[in-house]
């Protein structure tokens, strides 16, 4: 290939190779720090490689240059030495950059407090990736509520006991939101003096316990009823009453975040009891009752009888559920007659035939229920019995406060899912007002879109942050320039296009996980493929001239040939070879404007499907330990071909990568050739036997400053050829419903896979990889 095609690097701004020197130069000028620095530097640099040391030095340098003061710098060095085994220097450097941000926003005292809190945070959170999120929360607080940073840092232990890192971000976000503009209130919130703050923390803690148990609970309910339930942790905005019981609305089961009063050891069983009861309702309560002219007391009783009916039916199918629910029925006969106690006793009486209760009302309820034993399948039974009992109780003039009424026992739902509130709800239900509104709100929330994905609800916390530019040119630092083929002139123009690095704000990694949860079949399939590929197939190589074993067929052929006085073939051995996987992959994702197009009526865009496909494949690649990198590209003319680095080869695949992937936005155009050349340059540095660039694009190469698109097609084709000549495989996956695209022209027919139906992309991409990796 001609020398002109070799990429030339034009690097403008980098501190590589100079941070360590500059740091030393700076410290030399500071008398107070010089002495301490030597010792710390020796400890840190011992056994560390240069690149990591560079990064750490860059972090320390920024902390110095931002005027954090000598105490902060000392603290940082000390912590780096102390935590050198727990955290990598890279991660410490990232924290230093965050600390510099904090200093800019909140001053050096606050920064010092944060630095001193780092060991505690690490102890509570355990992992470096969590520290990143924690420091992000602090940075945000420094920007928007600087006076509170020190307070939060000093209480790190207490706060992180209740929540994990994303809970912490939530805590900061909630605090800022609810005390907007009011400095005094804000301080009160973040010093945990405000009741709201403790509520938010409590909810986070509860949500954490729930999320740890969620998978088991879901599987348990699925095993019982055959349908996976939709379980959510209920979060109430502080100020509104915290839900104290499970709520069922629109097929969604909402678990309250906190069950105060239940000992921690009983919580798992309580969760199971809640889920079993709620899903029993979903399976067995087929219709809802219209409220009509019912009084609240009657509604409560009908709900109670319905609970008993559903549980009785469930226990017929699953006798063991009795043992699950029984410990929570604790009502006993007492002298005091109030509605809540009577109702709790009635609930127990209907549940437990061995429970003795002398009260006449209870006895009547029991008798009525027992009489309908054969008719329990009929939902109207509850309505009848409950209505009767409600009348009786009303006539007994027992105190009943609908506002404060809470269903007992604790695992049962609040009963609101039973009712059809209808149009005339307003007139009749001012007593249930608070709870009704909550149920209505939640039901509207979910009735429209029970599978609403999280990324539509939460904007990325940093999305509106200040842009932190590192290069003077607002277009992003130049990475390299490449030649491009000019069709008319028939020559390659050197240094024609410029590739720039573009930064990506992190989005919501949880959205990726949620989207992947929606395709369990594909994920399971991919896992199986991974398992099969991972085992590294043992290949039997037969008919070898050497080997530890005899190849029986070959040996027999040879013996036969000998007897027949022919010349035998002496390759009678066989050996085993384990096929090693030595393949590195770079996935190049096209994020041009055309990927914004909606695919399905639900509004999912092409980019969303591409994102999902890449996430599924990345999961598989991470499981296989194949080194891989993710890049996205979009171009705005030849001077500005943007490459987004989603994942580097050395970087582990985790929440950070998912967050970047989640935040990709469709924009600009597709200058494919340049992107390919750049990818080739980057992958050339990876040491592996095989190198593969997998391109995912939805359209034709094009750009705003190129009139004839065939130019770019031809350029891309040449890029592919030159890469292949250098030993890098290129494979293109094009989203091509019409089948008339130029994918085959660019990649070659055998190295190209057109995907007609976009919905198939995730599964086909994964299978493609396994096919390619096998060769």
């Amino acid at each position: 290939m001609t020398p002109r095609s070799r990429a030339q690097f034009q690097v403008i701004e980098t501190e590589q190779g100079r941070a360590v020197t500059r740091l030393h130069q700076l410290i030399r000028q500071r008398d107070t720090l010089r002495g301490e620095f030597r010792g710390h530097w020796d400890a840190i640099s011992a056994g560390t490689d240069d690149a990591d040391l560079e990064r750490w030095a860059a972090g320390a340098l920024e902390l110095a240059l931002v005027n954090a003061g000598p105490e902060c710098q000392l603290a940082f060095w000390r912590i780096s030495v102390d935590l050198k085994s727990a955290l990598q220097l890279r991660e410490l450097a990232d924290f230093a950059h965050a600390a510099a941000d904090i200093c800019r926003g909140a001053g050096s005292k606050a920064t010092l407090a944060c630095l001193q809190a780092l060991p505690n945070a690490l102890r509570r959170l355990g992992r470096a990736s969590e520290i990143v999120l924690w420091s992000r929360g602090l940075v945000r607080l420094a920007r928007e509520g600087p006076e509170s940073v020190a307070a939060v840092a000093c209480r790190t232990d207490m706060i992180l006991q209740a929540c994990d890192s994303s809970g912490f971000e939530n805590f900061v976000a909630s605090g800022l939101k609810y005390t907007r503009g009011d400095r005094v209130r804000r301080r009160a919130f973040f010093t945990l003096e405000d009741r709201l703050a403790t509520q938010v923390l409590e909810q986070s803690a509860g949500a954490l316990i729930f999320s740890r148990n969620e998978r088991v609970l879901k599987a348990f309910a699925t095993a019982l009823w055959g349908r996976p339930p939709v379980l959510r942790g209920a979060i109430a905005p502080p100020g509104m009453q915290l839900p104290r019981r499970v709520n069922i609305a629109g097929g969604v089961v909402r678990m309250p975040p906190v069950f105060s009063g239940t000992p921690k050891g009983m919580l798992p069983q309580l969760f199971r009891a809640c889920v079993a009861h709620a899903t029993a309702h979903i399976a067995l309560t087929r219709t809802r009752f219209p409220i009509g002219s019912l009084k609240p007391l009657q509604m409560a009783l009908i709900g109670l009888v319905e609970d008993a009916r559903v549980e009785m039916l469930a226990m017929r199918a699953f006798p063991g559920l009795r043992r699950l629910w029984a410990p929570f029925h604790v009502a006993e006969p007492t002298e005091v007659i109030t509605a809540p106690t009577l109702l709790a006793r009635l609930a127990r009486a209907l549940f437990d035939p061995d429970y003795a209760d002398p009260d006449g009302f209870i006895k009547k309820g029991r008798a009525l229920f027992a009489a309908e034993r054969e008719r329990l399948d009929d939902v109207s039974v509850s309505r009848q019995i409950g209505g009767l009992l409600g009348n009786d109780l009303g006539q007994m003039r027992v105190q009943f406060n609908a506002r404060t009424y809470v269903v007992e026992p604790v695992y049962r739902d609040d009963g609101l899912g039973l009712w059809d509130f209808g149009e005339q709800a307003q007139a009749e239900t001012d007593i249930f007002e608070l709870m009704v509104d909550a149920a209505r709100f939640e039901r509207r929330d979910d009735a429209d879109n029970p599978d609403r994905r999280r990324n539509e609800v939460e904007p990325a916390p940093d999305a509106v942050g200040r842009a932190r530019e590192r290069a003077p040119d607002e277009r992003g630092p130049v990475l390299a320039t490449y030649p491009e083929w000019d069709c008319d002139a028939g020559i390659e123009r050197p240094d024609w296009t410029t590739v720039r690095a573009a930064s990506l704000w992190p989005g919501d990694a949880g959205a990726i996980d949620a989207a992947l949860d929606n395709i369990p079949a594909l994920r399971a399939r991919i896992r199986r493929l991974v398992r099969g590929a991972k085992i590294g197939r043992h290949e039997r190589l037969k008919r070898r001239s050497d080997g530890p074993d005899l190849d029986l067929d070959a040996a027999l052929d040879a013996a036969v040939a000998l007897r027949a006085a022919e010349l035998p073939d002496d390759r009678v051995f066989r050996t085993m070879a384990r096929r090693q996987r030595d393949l590195s992959v770079m996935i190049l994702l096209d994020t041009s404007e055309s990927t914004r197009d909606p695919v399905m009526p639900s509004g999912t865009s092409v980019l969303d499907v591409e994102r999902l496909a890449v996430a599924a494949l990345a999961e598989a690649l991470a499981a296989l330990n194949d080194p891989f990198a993710l890049r996205a590209f979009a171009s705005a003319g030849r001077e500005d071909v943007r490459v987004f680095c989603l994942k580097d080869f050395g970087e582990p695949y985790g929440a950070a990568v998912k967050a970047r992937l989640a935040h990709l936005e469709p924009q600009l155009s597709t200058r494919l050739g340049t992107a390919l050349r750049h990818a080739g340059t980057e992958i050339a540095y990876v040491r592996s036997h095989r190198k593969l660039i997998l391109v995912l694009t939805d359209g034709e190469p094009s750009d705003i400053d190129v009139v004839d698109p065939r130019d770019l097609v031809e350029d891309a084709r040449r890029a592919v050829i030159s890469l292949r000549e250098r030993g890098t495989d290129v494979f293109g996956v094009t989203l091509d419903p019409s089948g008339a695209g130029s994918g085959a022209a660019v990649f070659g027919r055998s190295q190209h896979m057109p995907v007609r139906r976009l919905e198939d992309l995730p599964s086909r991409l994964a299978e493609l990889y396994f096919r390619l990796a096998r060769r």
């Binding site: 088991v216 348990f220 019982l224 199971r272 559920l321 369990p520 399971a524 027999l556």
Partner: protein
């Protein structure tokens, strides 16, 4: 007769689930090759044993695996003092002397091995033995039966279309709960009530197929559990040992299954 050793001596217990016995007999009447598809532990092998007994044919079973070569099926020369001797493989034995040849888990074998059955599965009913230079015409009573689990296919292992289309298919699945309880009771020696509870437990696990488990509990697992109960173990412990522990290593799934089992008892 040469294949006495392969005859089924006594009636194997098999309780028909649907019309599969009639279906197989109809296929056998024309000696059509049959493919038994279904998850593990559903009675495929027991079924073919039963049919072999019923039709009074010898049954030659071959468990296919990845290292199996065409010579393993068809036969090869072996070296003996008096010279080389041709030794028929199991497939050739069945073809020559009119037995039912049952290739179990045929997908495990490599595809260049499975093509050896092609000439037997169409109208020719011939088995060419190139090494011996012989063309064996199938005995009129010969029939080929294969089995495999469709759920475990990876992109790598699958039957070729050309192979699949030569067979008549019978689907095997889990029987209806009453029938399954009867089978479990008969095979394990446990009483009807226990068997019914075991089937209940199996249904819970089958609900989790694709939702955390690869496959639900098979009938075979229930029979194991029943045998443990008949030997004196409690039902909960027996279920744990023969169903929950083997079926998954995922701690969350084990916990959920244990809770579901407890709910059933």
């Amino acid at each position: 007769m040469r294949l006495e050793a392969y005859r089924i001596q006594s009636e194997p217990y098999y309780l028909p689930v649907a019309a599969e016995v009639a279906l197989f007999e109809a296929a056998y009447a024309s000696r059509l090759p049959v493919m038994l598809k279904g998850p593990t532990g559903c009675g495929k092998t027991r079924f073919i044993e039963y049919l072999a007994w019923r039709l009074d044919r010898p049954l030659i079973t071959v468990a296919a695996h990845e290292d199996m070569t065409a010579a393993d099926l068809a036969g090869r020369y072996l070296l003996a003092p008096e010279g080389t001797v041709w030794h028929d493989g199991p497939l050739t034995l069945a073809v020559r002397y009119g037995a039912i040849c049952y290739l179990d888990e045929i997908v495990e074998a490599r595809q260049d091995t499975t093509v050896v059955i092609h000439p037997l599965t169409d109208a020719r009913r011939m088995l060419p033995l190139e090494k011996k230079n012989e063309l064996v015409a199938a005995h009129p009573d010969f029939q080929l039966v294969i089995s495999y689990n469709p759920g475990y296919q990876s992109a790598v292992k699958d039957l070729k279309e050309s192979t699949k289309q030569r067979f008549v298919g019978i689907d095997f699945g889990y029987p209806a709960p009453d029938i399954e309880a009867e089978i479990v009771s008969r095979e394990s020696g446990a009483d009807r009530k226990t068997a019914r509870q075991l089937v209940d437990i199996a249904l819970r696990s089958r609900n989790l197929r694709g939702q955390g488990l690869e496959e639900g509990a098979s009938t075979r697992m229930l029979i194991h559990a029943g045998r443990l109960v008949a030997a004196g173990l409690g039902l909960e412990a027996a279920s744990r040992a023969s169903i929950v522990l083997p079926i998954t290593d995922d701690l969350d799934m084990r916990e959920a299954l244990t809770a579901a089992v407890a709910a059933c008892l």
